[in-house]
């Protein structure tokens, strides 16, 4: 893990970082003379809450939210399957909405409320969706599972909020809780073990029978 004065940010880097990340929150002033970008990573402080706990980190601005969680906070429940937003294993909830945490820089989340799989439930105190995945065997190797579960929880909330999807017949009417809707909305979460049929059973149990 990185920290300490040796990684103090340069003035130019602060300006660049502040420009690119306007609104990302306060940035501590640089103390070192301007140097070439390549010589020293740009460090920033960021504060957010993770699973209800306030966290303050000083990070290389290149750090993804996923790596901030996995490497700096050692919350390794969120998985790195592709680091490119193609697999969904890194799905977490930010302000109640699901995102691919690998596609988001940590310093963009100043003040955000982040929920990871660890925040949904713990062994012995499972979230109902976690319990349903367990009971329906909605996983095998387990690597995509935290992302699937975070997505599944968010999908049901999206449906409840009336947010349409690609398969919704209407953009203005509330989408129905159909299997087509569930499958479409879950399709950003790849499971190579192929537990999809069981994941659907788990989601149906929590959502109630689809229309």
């Amino acid at each position: 893990m990185i920290g300490g004065d040796e990684f103090d940010i340069s003035r130019r880097a602060v300006l660049l970082g502040g420009g690119a990340l306007a609104g990302a929150g306060p940035v501590r002033a640089a103390t070192r003379k301007e140097t070439d970008m390549q010589d020293s990573p740009t460090m920033m402080e960021v504060s957010f809450s993770v699973n209800g706990e306030a966290r303050r980190l000083r990070l290389d601005t290149r750090t993804s939210l996923l790596d901030a969680l996995r490497e700096h906070l050692q919350l390794t429940g969120s998985k790195k399957g592709c680091d490119h937003g193609q697999c969904g294993a890194c799905t977490v909830l930010v302000q109640g909405r699901r995102i691919n945490s690998c596609l988001s820089l940590a310093v963009m989340h100043e003040g955000d409320e982040i929920t990871t799989i660890e925040g949904l439930g713990q062994p012995g105190e499972l979230h109902p969706m976690q319990a349903a995945f367990l009971h329906h065997d909605g996983f095998q190797c387990g690597y995509c599972t935290p992302g699937q579960i975070c997505s599944a929880v968010a999908v049901l909330a999206e449906l409840q909020a009336g947010i349409p999807s690609h398969v919704s017949p209407s953009l203005t009417e509330a989408p129905t809780l159909s299997e087509a809707e569930l499958r479409e909305r879950m399709s950003g979460n790849i499971c190579r073990c192929g537990a999809y049929s069981n994941i659907m059973e788990a989601m149906r149990e929590i959502a109630g029978e689809p229309a």
Partner: protein, 730 residues
């Protein structure tokens, strides 16, 4: 324990735990993200530095020079390892290409350097500053072009035959001679290959993600020139493998080399875009099938020839193997030929051989049934065999393929299928049904375990077996609970540590039967120790409900445990039952698809597999294995294809957006039926493999359903809409 005679009645037959659909014992850890995978093991060793691997930008040739100056000077960099400073490296017995390339380059994205830095971001930034200067050489990257130069491989039983194929085929009234192709495929397991390595006193420990711990340990030792006792691998959780983690890979070796170079533990994961060309893949095949039949549908002649390519020293894709066993016919021939290709290394992927071979054979059978005017289910039933067709004195231990087909046909509503394709239309789509048979052998291999009854009456099972999503933790606990009569909650299973007894490992669908049989053997030893300590008679001792009953005595196991821990270690070894009897598993796959009449978009609407795989140890996790394999079958049928750049010699679609695998929207509800017939010739567990069976035939069932829907026969996988559009029915 030597298993050389058919199993008789044993404690497993009670099926109080075995055969029950129990939830996975590690499931709570997985659904909460608490199960630690290789890259996540912050706790095992302090001060972990980050490695980042770069791969070769050419497919063949050599590195003339590599400018490392900028990378070395980059912030946070602790060291760089290339072939120039790695020291002398051996090559693992199971690797074809070297894991650290340079100066010679054998394939695209072969690892050429690892940069170690204080953070992932720093290592990545520095790695991208490395400037290799290559001298590229021309290579052969096109299987179709290389086919005519293919040779008979030196090993692997490339030619087989029986009777007189040429005569029988020439005389057959109805014949088929078609060529099918399957593309290169990627395992694409969700967890990238990852390792953390740390050295202490000349010995290395590698926390990694590997299916076959003993192979990995031996090949690390071989590659690094270490005595095996100086190598420890630990892999308790594996985020999928499908064959891609059978062998030692670059992450493991380069983590070890880098950790030695910088004098600190190093963690590294392959980046997703690198995995497709750096690691192994299922090789493409070109397959020619000839069938000759009598007008009544009896097969008279069957020939299957397959061509695949590989790097020098690499093996063939054994796509003809199932054809030697699946159907009766007096005249038989198979040929397997190997072409030299300079693409990345081809190697085993789930159901190697059968997965590709059945994609061709079972479409050929569908085509032949149509030529004969027969129902494809009936055609297969008619040509069933009770014996190894190349060796008629050798029976199958069990074979219930006909029952699989019959039950499946009834359950799936096969009778509704229109024999003539393109007839059933619902709205804007054509609907079709397809069937295919599956076969995959039951491989027997020795497997050991250690079981301990602790003073507080917990049962601890230790073996280097892995759980790659297969359910090993759970079925091993079920086995131990059954043998000792203890509740599941008192059983703890520790897997994946090379310090534990060597197991069968996870591959070839051999894990479940062999690893549990090894645990069975160790538990027999522990039962003997317990009986001896309690002064009971072994012959009539019954272990149940936490007690041992013998004669009129009922003694709590806890009483035996209190006197001190008892430890037994043993394994299963096999006699010649697999030589005397062909041991295989069978499936009947059914699929229903819709094909959009305007766009030819294919959707799978229903799937069913009926499986004959011996005793099912846990119907819940076994079913998951099968539906997962069926899902991979949908991928093979409809979308999976590594696109070969024939100029530059690499797989161009090397990420999860370009290499398409099935997603939720592609997969309907899937149904699985197990015949659940214990096979006493297999092991004391009377179980057989099931993890690959679900893939064997699944893709062909989908392809046949597409034909039934549209009347368009596609013989080049994957079956995509562009191959249908021009010939779609009106």
């Amino acid at each position: 324990m030597k298993f050389d005679a058919p199993a008789t009645t044993n404690p497993i037959d009670r099926q109080r735990f075995i055969g029950q659909p129990l939830d996975r014992i590690e499931g709570q850890l997985k659904v909460t993200g608490s199960a630690p995978y290789a890259y996540e093991r912050h706790e095992v060793v302090p001060d972990q530095a980050y490695g980042y691997i770069i791969g070769a930008g050419i497919a063949k040739g050599r590195i003339k020079a590599m400018d490392l100056d900028a990378a070395r000077a980059a912030p946070g960099v602790l060291g760089i390892v290339t072939a120039a400073n790695a020291g002398k490296l051996g090559k693992g017995k199971r690797n074809t290409a070297r894991l650290l390339g340079g100066p010679e380059i054998e394939h695209y994205d072969q690892a050429i350097a690892i940069v170690v830095a204080e953070s992932f971001e720093m290592a990545r930034a520095a790695a991208l500053l490395i400037r290799p200067d290559y001298e590229a050489q021309p290579g052969q990257f096109d299987l179709a072009a290389a086919q005519e130069r293919a040779v008979k491989p030196e090993s692997g039983d490339p030619d087989s035959g029986f009777g007189d194929f040429a005569r029988d085929y020439a005389q057959a009234p109805v014949t088929l001679d078609e060529t099918y192709t399957t593309p290169d495929q990627s395992h694409a397991m969700m967890e990238p290959h990852a390792s953390i390595a740390a050295w202490k006193d000349g010995a290395v420990t590698i926390w990694t993600s590997n299916q076959m711990i003993a192979w990995g340990k031996a090949d690390v030792a071989e590659t690094l020139g270490l005595p095996p006792e100086k190598v420890r691998l630990d892999s308790p959780y594996v985020g999928g493998g499908f064959g891609g983690k059978l062998f030692l890979r670059a992450d493991c070796i380069l983590a070890a080399l880098a950790a030695r170079e910088v004098g600190r533990p190093v963690k590294v994961a392959l980046t997703r875009p690198m995995i497709f060309n750096n690691t192994t893949h299922r090789p493409a095949t070109r397959q020619r099938i000839r069938l000759g039949a009598a007008p009544d549908g009896r097969l008279l002649a069957i020939a299957h020839e397959s061509w695949s390519g590989n790097l020098p020293g690499g093996a063939t894709e054994t796509a003809v193997h199932q054809t030697r066993l699946l159907y009766a016919a007096p005249g038989r021939l198979t040929r397997t030929r190997l072409a030299r290709l300079d693409l990345p290394e081809g190697n085993a992927m789930r159901a190697p051989g059968e997965a590709s071979g059945l994609m061709a054979l079972e479409v050929a059978m569908d085509e032949m049934a149509e030529r004969l005017g027969m129902d494809p289910v009936q055609f297969r039933i008619l040509n069933d065999t009770r014996v190894d067709p190349e060796n008629p004195g050798r029976p199958f231990s069990q074979r219930h393929l006909v029952e699989c087909l019959k039950r499946g046909a009834q359950r799936f509503g096969w009778a509704q299928r229109q024999a003539k394709p393109g007839q059933r239309r619902e709205g804007g789509a054509f609907i079709g049904l397809g069937v295919a048979a599956g076969i995959r052998n039951n491989l027997l291999t020795k497997s050991a375990a250690r079981v301990r009854l602790t003073r507080d009456c917990r049962l601890i099972v230790e073996t280097d077996m892995t759980d790659i999503g297969t359910g090993s933790y759970t079925i091993i606990a079920q086995t131990a609970a059954e043998m000792l009569g203890l509740p599941m909650a008192q059983v703890e299973v520790r897997l994946g540590d090379s310090d534990s007894p060597v197991s069968a490992g996870s591959g070839g669908q051999w894990g479940a039967n062999n690893a549990t049989a090894g645990v069975y053997a160790a538990c027999v030893g522990l039962r003997q120790l317990i009986v001896a300590r309690l002064g009971l008679n072994e012959a009539d001792a019954v272990f149940a409900d936490g007690r041992v009953q013998s004669g009129g005595n009922r003694t709590a196991l806890a009483q035996a445990a209190r006197q001190g821990e008892l430890v037994a270690e043993d394994g299963i070894e096999y006699g010649d039952l697999a030589e005397r009897y062909q041991q295989s598993t069978f499936a009947a796959h059914f699929a229903e698809v819709s094909v959009d009449a305007a766009t030819a978009e294919i959707r799978v609407r229903r799937m069913l597999a009926v499986c004959d795989a011996g005793r099912i140890l846990n119907p819940k996790s076994a079913r998951s294995q099968v539906i997962g394999a069926m899902t991979m079958g949908v991928g093979a049928a409809l979308m999976e294809e590594l696109a070969v750049d024939h100029q530059r010699g690499y797989f161009a679609n090397h990420d999860l957006a370009g290499y398409e695998v099935p997603v939720h929207a592609d997969i309907p509800h899937q149904e699985v039926v197990f015949l659940d017939e214990p096979d006493p010739l297999s092991s004391p567990m009377k179980a057989k493999g099931v993890g690959e069976l679900g893939l064997c035939g699944a893709a062909a069932a989908v392809a046949n359903a597409v034909y039934n829907a549209t009347g368009v026969r596609v013989r080049d996988y994957p079956v995509t809409l562009d191959k249908l559009l021009a010939a779609m029915p009106a």
